[in-house]
C-alpha cells in the first residue's frame, strides 16, 4: 500500500487492518508517535491526517491511503522549540502527541486564549503534570508568530 508520510511517498506491506501507529514505529522507524493506550484515549500517538489530529493507534492503514500524514518528525519545529524554552516536560512521553495537536491548533487559531488552548489539548493526557508549562509554550508560539 502506498502512503504519504511527512511529504514522502512510502510503501507498506503491512496488513491493511494494522493500526497506523505500528506501521510508523516499526516499519518506518518513526517512533516519535508513542504507544500509550492503543484505543485513542490518551493522545500520545497523535498524527495529522490531511491536517486533522487523529490518534494513529486508532486509524487503520487502509484508511489513510491517498491521505497525507504528518507525524511529530514532520512538524516545522516551532512548537518543539517553545516546549524546550518552557522546559515543558518531566518524562516527555506525551509531548510529541501534544506538539502535533498544538501545531494544528495554532494553524487555525494564531492568538488563542488560555481556555482555548486547554480545550484544544483536552484529548491529551499528561501524567507528570506538565500542563501549565505546555500552555505557556503554546502561548509563546502564538506570541512569537504574531
Amino acid at each position: 500500500m502506498k502512503i504519504n508520510v511527512n511529504g514522502s511517498p512510502l510503501e507498506s506491506s503491512a496488513h491493511p487492518d494494522t493500526p497506523l501507529l505500528y506501521v510508523l514505529r516499526n516499519d518506518f522507524g518513526l517512533v516519535g508517535s508513542r504507544f500509550g493506550c492503543g484505543g485513542g484515549q490518551c493522545g500520545a500517538c497523535m498524527v495529522l491526517v490531511d491536517g486533522r489530529p487523529m490518534a494513529s493507534c486508532d486509524v487503520l492503514l487502509s484508511f489513510i491511503q491517498d491521505k497525507k500524514i504528518i507525524t511529530v518528525e514532520g512538524l516545522d519545529g516551532r512548537v518543539q522549540r517553545a516546549l524546550v524554552a518552557e522546559q515543558a516536560a518531566q518524562c516527555g512521553y506525551c509531548m510529541s502527541g501534544i506538539a502535533v495537536s498544538a501545531s494544528a491548533f495554532l494553524q487555525k487559531n494564531s492568538s488563542p486564549t488560555e481556555d482555548q488552548i486547554r480545550e484544544a489539548l483536552e484529548k491529551h493526557l499528561c501524567r507528570c503534570g506538565s500542563h501549565s508549562r505546555v500552555i505557556r509554550a503554546v502561548q509563546r508560539v502564538a506570541r512569537e508568530q504574531a
Binding site: 503491512a14 494494522t18 522507524g29 508517535s33 504507544f35 516527555g92 483536552e122 493526557l125 507528570c128
Partner: protein, 627 residues
C-alpha cells in the same frame, strides 16, 4: 545498597574528545535527574555541562546505588558522584559558595530529542531479529489457568499459569494476545474488598507502635477531645506509557533492557525466579515513560525473560498493553486512619493519637528471600510470593510521615500492619506520606476550628523548626479565609523537603474544582532550581488528580475507567522556592500529602463540609454533606 562492586568502568573517565563519561547508579525515571547529576559532575570536574556524558546504568558497569526512589537521587546519588569526581581530580570537594554550575537552571539535556520524536524510551528500542511478545492475563487476579483453548497458528509460550505469545510483528502479537485471552479460562483469585477500611481493620497481622511519648500531666490538661477518621483508596501509577522490556537469552546468559528503578535488585530477583546465577544476567537501564514509583517495569522484565527463553536466542520486546498495566501494576495501597487529639484551655494540642491500617508500601523485587513479581507465582514451579513490607523509620513505608512534625507533648502513633493482600500494593510516589499527611493536616484544620484559631497561626503555634515555619509563612499572606482557601504542611519523611501548600477551590454543590495551588518548598540548595520547580509543579498537579478523581476499580481496562485530571481541569500552579545552602534533598514527592489536605481544607472553607474520604468526587462530597 551502595555495595562496593568491582566495576568494569570507573565512575569518571576522561575521553579522547575532551568529554567525561560518568557512570551512576541512579536512573532517569522522567524526573530529569541525569541533567542535575551532570551539573554536579561538571561542577566538581571544573568543565562545562556539555562535556559530561552520563552513561546509561547497567549491572556490569555501574555502581550499585540501590533503587532510584524516595527522593534520594540528589541527596545520595549526588553525594557519591561529587566524591567520585573530586577523587578523580585529586582535590577536595568544592564548597558550595564556589559553585558556578550547581544552583543554575541548566536546561534538561534530554528534552530536545524527546520533543523531536527521536528514539528516547525503551519502548522505542529495536534490536536486530527482534520478536514481539505479549503476555496473556485476565484483567483480574487469578488462582490458576484452567485451560488455554484453541491456539492453532499462534506461538504460545506457557509455563504453568504463565502464558504469553510471540510473533514476528507487533500487530500479530497483539491479535494473538486477544485471541488467546478470549479463549483461556482462569480460576478467579481473591476479590478486592468493596470497602477497604473495615476489611483492613479485620485483617491486622501486627500492631506496631511507630512512636510513643508519654506526658500524663499534659494529657490531663485536655478540656476538649476531637476525633476524625479518614481513608484513601488504591491509586494507580497510570503512567502514559505502559511498561515494556526487551530480553534476550544467548548461551545460557540473559540480557534484559528495563526501565526498572533498581537494576541490581531486578537482576537478583530474575536470578531467583529463573533459577540461574546473577553473574549470568545483565540488566541494562533504558528510560521508560514517567515513573512515579514501583510500576509494572519489573514485572514486565520477568515476563519478557520467560518469553525470550523460548525465542531461540532472538531478542523479545514485550510491551504491556494499557489494560495489562491497569490490571497488573502494583497500586499505591488503600489505607484507613483514625485520629484523636486533646486541646487544652489555651487551644494547644496536649495529646495526639494516630492509628493507621495498611498493607506494606513496598513490594519491590530483590529485597527479600522470596520473590514479589507476578510471574514468580504463576510459573509451573511456582514460588510463594513475599508480602509487601515497609522500609524502616524514619523514612518508613505505610508509616511514612505518620510521625507528626509538630511538637505535641503526649503522643502515640500506631501502625496496624496488614500482610494479607487481596490486591497487590507497592511503592507509589510518597508511599504512606500521602494518606498520613492528608489525615494529619485535615485533622489539624479540624482542631484549629475547635480551638477557635486560624489554620496558619494554629500550625505555627505547634512548630519550632524555623525552616518549617518559613515555608508556612511564605504562603500565609496568600491565605484568605472564606475564599475557598486551604493550607497544609509537611516535611517529607520528616527528614527531606519542607513543603507548604495553599489550595484555592470553587465548589458548586458537590462539584469541586481546584483552581489554584501554590507551594512553598525548601529543598536546601537546589541543584537545578527550574528542575525543582518543574518537579514540584508536576507533583502539585498529580496530587490534585489523585485527590479529586482517582480510585482503582477492580477490572478497569482503560482511561475511561480511571479518569485523571485533564487540560481543562488542571489548576494553575505556582512554586515559591526558598533559596538556601542547606544540603540538597529531593523534590519529587514532597507535595503529595500537603496537596490532598490543602484541597480538603479548602473545600471545608468553601462549603463548611469536612470530606474525610478520598477521592473528593461529587459522590464522596455528597456523602460528606449528608453525613
Amino acid at each position: 545498597m551502595n555495595k562496593p562492586e568491582k566495576l568494569a568502568v570507573p565512575r569518571v573517565r576522561a575521553e579522547a574528545d575532551g568529554t567525561f563519561s560518568i557512570t551512576t547508579g541512579k536512573v532517569d525515571i522522567g524526573q530529569g535527574i541525569s541533567t542535575a547529576l551532570a551539573q554536579i559532575a561538571a561542577e566538581e570536574l571544573g568543565v562545562d555541562v556539555s562535556k559530561i556524558r552520563m552513561l546509561s546504568p547497567n549491572t556490569s558497569e555501574s555502581p550499585d546505588e540501590g533503587v532510584t526512589s524516595g527522593s534520594l537521587s540528589i541527596q545520595d546519588g549526588g553525594k557519591s558522584l561529587r566524591a567520585a569526581c573530586a577523587a578523580f581530580r585529586g582535590s577536595p570537594e568544592k564548597s558550595s559558595e564556589h559553585y558556578k554550575i550547581v544552583g543554575k537552571s541548566v536546561p534538561r539535556l534530554d528534552l530536545p530529542a524527546k520533543f523531536a520524536g527521536k528514539p528516547s524510551y525503551l519502548q522505542d528500542m529495536q534490536l536486530p531479529g527482534m520478536l514481539h511478545g505479549r503476555v496473556v492475563r485476565p484483567p483480574h487476579t487469578f488462582k490458576r489457568l484452567i485451560s488455554l483453548g484453541e491456539t492453532k497458528g499462534i506461538t504460545v509460550v506457557q509455563d504453568g499459569s504463565f502464558v504469553g505469545v510471540l510473533a514476528e510483528t507487533e500487530f500479530e502479537a497483539i491479535e494473538a494476545q486477544k485471541k488467546v485471552r478470549a479463549r483461556a479460562k482462569w480460576e478467579a483469585g481473591p476479590e478486592a474488598p468493596e470497602d477497604w477500611a473495615p476489611w483492613l481493620k479485620a485483617h491486622v497481622a501486627q500492631d506496631i507502635i511507630s512512636k510513643e511519648t508519654k506526658d500524663d500531666a499534659a494529657k490531663a490538661r485536655a478540656v476538649k477531645t476531637v476525633k476524625g477518621a479518614y481513608t484513601k483508596p488504591l491509586i494507580a501509577h497510570a503512567s502514559i506509557g505502559p511498561s515494556c522490556a526487551i530480553a534476550q537469552w544467548k548461551d545460557g546468559k540473559l540480557e534484559v533492557w528495563s526501565h526498572t528503578q533498581g537494576i541490581y535488585n531486578l537482576r537478583k530477583e530474575l536470578a531467583l525466579v529463573l533459577r540461574t546465577n546473577e553473574a549470568d544476567i545483565v540488566v541494562r537501564h533504558a528510560e521508560g515513560a514517567g515513573c512515579y514509583g514501583h510500576n509494572g517495569a519489573d514485572d514486565v522484565a520477568l515476563d519478557a525473560a520467560l518469553l525470550a527463553r523460548k525465542a531461540g536466542g532472538r531478542p523479545v520486546r514485550l510491551q504491556w498493553m494499557r489494560d495489562d498495566e491497569f490490571a497488573w501494576e502494583p497500586y499505591g495501597p488503600a489505607a484507613a486512619y483514625e485520629m484523636e487529639a486533646g486541646l487544652d484551655a489555651e487551644g494547644r494540642i496536649v495529646f495526639w493519637r494516630h492509628d493507621f491500617w495498611s498493607n506494606g508500601c513496598t513490594h519491590r523485587p530483590g529485597r527479600l528471600d522470596k520473590p514479589t513479581l507476578w510471574a514468580a507465582g504463576q510459573i509451573a514451579d511456582a514460588f510463594e510470593r513475599a508480602p509487601a513490607t515497609n522500609p524502616p523509620l524514619p523514612a518508613g513505608g505505610s508509616d511514612r510521615n505518620a510521625l507528626p512534625g509538630y511538637d505535641f507533648p503526649d503522643q502515640r502513633v500506631m501502625n496496624h500492619y496488614v500482610t494479607e493482600m487481596p490486591v497487590r500494593g507497592s511503592s507509589l510516589r510518597a508511599l504512606g506520606a500521602f494518606g498520613n499527611v492528608f489525615a494529619i493536616e485535615s485533622f489539624m484544620d479540624e482542631l484549629a476550628l475547635e480551638a477557635g484559631s486560624d489554620p496558619v497561626s494554629f500550625r505555627l503555634k505547634h512548630l519550632k523548626d524555623p525552616r518549617a515555619i518559613a515555608v508556612i509563612q511564605e504562603i500565609a499572606p496568600r491565605f484568605r479565609k472564606g475564599a475557598g482557601h486551604g493550607i497544609a504542611y509537611a516535611k517529607y519523611k520528616n527528614l527531606g523537603a519542607y513543603c507548604a501548600v495553599l489550595a484555592e477551590v470553587e465548589a458548586d454543590g458537590a462539584e469541586l474544582r481546584c483552581k489554584r495551588l501554590v507551594a512553598a518548598v525548601d529543598v536546601g540548595l537546589p541543584v537545578n532550581p527550574d528542575g525543582v520547580i518543574n518537579q514540584v509543579e508536576g507533583g502539585l498537579i498529580q496530587a490534585a488528580s489523585w485527590t479529586l478523581k482517582e480510585a482503582v476499580k477492580p477490572g478497569m481496562l482503560g482511561w475511561e475507567d480511571y479518569p485523571i485530571l485533564k487540560f481543562t481541569e488542571v489548576p494553575a500552579v505556582e512554586v515559591l522556592l526558598i533559596r538556601n545552602s542547606f544540603n540538597s534533598v529531593g523534590a519529587g514527592e514532597c507535595t503529595m500529602g500537603p496537596v490532598a489536605a490543602a484541597i480538603a481544607n479548602a473545600l471545608h472553607d468553601a462549603l463548611g463540609v469536612r470530606a474525610r474520604h478520598l477521592p473528593l468526587t461529587p459522590e464522596n462530597i455528597a456523602k460528606a454533606i449528608n453525613a
